[in-house]
């Protein structure tokens, strides 16, 4: 500030002498108008010019004398007054210092208690639970994130799947995250799709489940649908069954257009282009989920699913070490005539017209297997029969097995050891397994026939 004024003055009055300059700088210093540039110049003159140094000190003495003249006339009165003020200020400072220490100690204590309280609060008040991880394929890849079956998932958690499929069970809703994809659990009954594809199966009671992307909001009205979002691209919604309400959003997230999509219809949404249009339905994401999970609702323990159907279950072709595999086979097979099979508890008669979905549980430990896998699988349907012996499995491969899958010949498939166990829950929706690791390695397989709800 002062250096600008000084420059301005100099340009008008011409080049000042060093003495004029130092006096102006001294005045600016005394009047508290000096800025960094002027102070630098003052320092320079004081350091290099004795006459300037002398002039500066004289000028400061002049200021001091003028100042003292305005306060008191007698030096003794001045000294007395200053001493009074100084000692009062000193005593006040002492009191202030003591109060400050007390305040500081109190503040530290409160801060410590607050921090402890906050830590306890954080420990004890986690975000609310919104669901559990109900299934993971064997090829699941998540980067740094650890996903485990049965793991409780909470509000606002973000899940990233690079490869494979992670299944989340929410109340009346099953969501499959098909890698590569990323979601955030933004609220009860809703999630935000940040990238990739999710598949949702919504049962009665789960209506209103919502998937949001930057382009669209998809509200389920009781159905099975998939949403694919490509960041910086668009969002595609495919409906396999039932109906969804899908809204196009603008850049601010406000709905600007709404579409009702019914079974086997699809639409694409782009917030950037502020456009939505219907496109051809594709069953691909649904078939992928069918082959991975079928109507499985939850899997727990040491059981996994496969991302792709296997090609061979011959001895040695698909070893599973410390976990068992649940492989969805043919789905929604309608029996043209009654069928009698041998279940774990004896013969079971399946009447004509029954709609059956089949699942094979496969366990073939390798030489490094150390733990006997335990686990359970729950279906969206009633378990009609569990086939556990070699003959019953072979007899039903043709009817319920996957076409093109080599189930193998010449090796024992069923549960041969008396220690292998299968339990069915009272409501017949869950089958639990315990496979032993026997000295002589073999293949343990179980076929589960589930009556479909439809």
């Amino acid at each position: 500030m002062f250096s600008e004024l000084w420059e301005k003055g100099r340009s008008v009055a011409g080049e000042p002498t060093s003495e004029d300059e130092i006096l102006e700088l001294a005045d600016a210093m005394y009047d508290r108008r000096i800025d960094a540039g002027a102070l630098e110049r003052l320092e320079e003159l004081l350091a290099n010019d004795l006459a300037c140094l002398q002039a500066y000190v004289e000028r400061m003495n002049l200021h001091g004398d003028l100042r003292r003249r305005t306060i008191e006339s007698a030096p003794l009165t001045q000294a007395n007054s200053v001493m009074d003020r100084a000692l009062s200020a000193g005593a006040a400072r002492e009191r202030l210092r003591s109060r400050w220490w007390m305040a500081a100690v109190t503040a530290c204590s409160l801060c410590f208690l607050g921090t402890m309280g906050w830590m306890i609060f954080l420990k004890t008040s986690l975000p609310p639970e919104v669901g559990v991880i109900a299934g993971l394929t064997t090829d699941i890849t998540t980067g740094d994130q650890v996903l485990d079956l049965g793991q409780v998932v909470r509000l606002n958690e973000v899940f990233t799947v690079s490869k494979g499929v992670a299944s989340f069970q929410f109340p009346s809703v099953m969501v499959n995250l098909i890698g590569p994809a990323q979601v955030r659990l933004s609220g009860p009954g809703q999630l935000e799709l940040l990238a990739g594809t999710v598949h949702a199966q919504v049962r009665h009671g789960g209506e209103g489940f919502t998937v949001r992307t930057p382009d669209s909001v998809v509200v389920d009205l009781g159905t099975e649908f998939s949403v694919n979002y490509i960041p910086e691209g668009n969002t595609e919604v495919h409906v396999r069954r039932g109906r969804v309400q899908a809204s196009l959003l603008d850049r601010n997230g406000a709905a600007i257009k709404r579409l009702d999509l019914t079974a086997e219809r699809a639409a694409t949404f782009s917030a950037e282009a502020r456009a939505s249009r219907e496109v051809g339905f594709t069953a691909e994401p649904f078939e992928k989920i069918d082959s991975t999970r079928g109507t499985i609702t939850t899997i727990d323990g040491m059981l996994r699913t496969l991302n792709e159907p296997p090609t061979s279950l011959n001895f040695g072709a698909l070893q599973t070490r410390n976990h068992g595999l649940v492989i969805p086979e043919q789905q929604q097979v309608v029996l043209k005539q009654a069928l009698e099979v041998t279940g774990s508890r004896g013969p079971v008669r399946l009447p004509a017209g029954s709609r059956i979905s089949s699942y094979l549980v496969h366990y073939e430990p390798d030489n490094l297997a150390t733990a006997a896998p335990r686990g359970g699988v729950t279906f969206d349907g009633r378990i009609a029969a569990v086939l556990v012996n070699h003959e019953a499995l072979s007899e039903t491969d043709q009817m319920f097995g996957l076409h093109g899958l080599d189930y193998g010949q010449g090796h024992s498939r069923g549960l041969e050891s008396i220690e292998d166990q299968v339990q069915i829950s009272d409501d017949r929706s869950t089958a639990s397994f315990y496979f032993v690791v026997a000295g002589e390695k073999d293949v343990d397989q179980v076929r589960i026939l589930v009556l479909s709800q439809e």
């Binding site: 102006e24 005045d27 102070l39 350091a47 000190v57 003495n61 007395n80 200053v82 200020a89 005593a91």
Partner: protein, 187 residues
């Protein structure tokens, strides 16, 4: 001395001795102008100088009460004032502009060596002020009393701050020239 001096940080033996207090005050009053000047030349402005002089007085009393008899009070008091003022500037430099240690050291040397000359100039200043017009004397008093900032002063006089500075600069120059001229005549 209106207020009774009390112990602050230390409790020297003579701190409550009324005779010692009276002696200290008398000696401080005798050299008060020099002590104030020692603080001001280092800190460079009125408000900091006023703060520093209070602290200097406290330190002086603490040291005086517990010390051996001080032979050269002025020299001793000014040394303390320089020390306190330099520490004040060093603290202030963390968030405000202030002179370097080197500049402060050179200023201290000049101030210490010219105390008699400055005393003489001080005496001449009184007569120079009397030569100013009453209006200028009143203006000078307003500027140095510190009860109004320059901005307030400009508002009161219905003028600009720059006009205040310009007028003050002119009055200061007249006083400085007067002192210098009188000093030259005398010598």
């Amino acid at each position: 001395m209106k207020a009774k001096l009390t112990s602050l940080d230390r409790a020297p033996s003579d701190i409550d001795d009324p005779a010692r207090q009276a002696e200290f005050l008398r000696r401080l009053a005798a050299d008060y102008n020099e002590v104030y000047a020692a603080g001001l030349v280092i800190v460079g402005n009125r408000s900091d100088a006023d703060d520093v002089i209070q602290e200097v007085c406290v330190v002086l009393w603490q040291k005086y009460a517990g010390a051996q008899p001080i032979l050269n009070f002025r020299k001793w008091a000014c040394t303390v004032a320089f020390h306190v003022a330099k520490n004040h500037v060093r603290k202030q430099r963390r968030w405000a502009l202030g002179l370097s240690d080197y500049a402060m050291s050179r200023i201290e040397q000049v101030q210490s060596g010219g105390s008699e000359l400055f005393e003489l100039r001080r005496e001449l200043l009184d007569s120079c002020i009397e030569k100013l017009s009453e209006r200028d004397q009143r203006f000078l008093d307003q500027c140095y009393r510190g009860s109004h900032s320059f901005t307030d002063l400009a508002r009161l006089q219905r003028t600009s701050v720059e006009t205040i500075y310009t007028r003050l600069k002119r009055v200061r120059k007249r006083l400085a020239d007067c002192v210098q001229r009188t000093l030259g005549k005398g010598s």
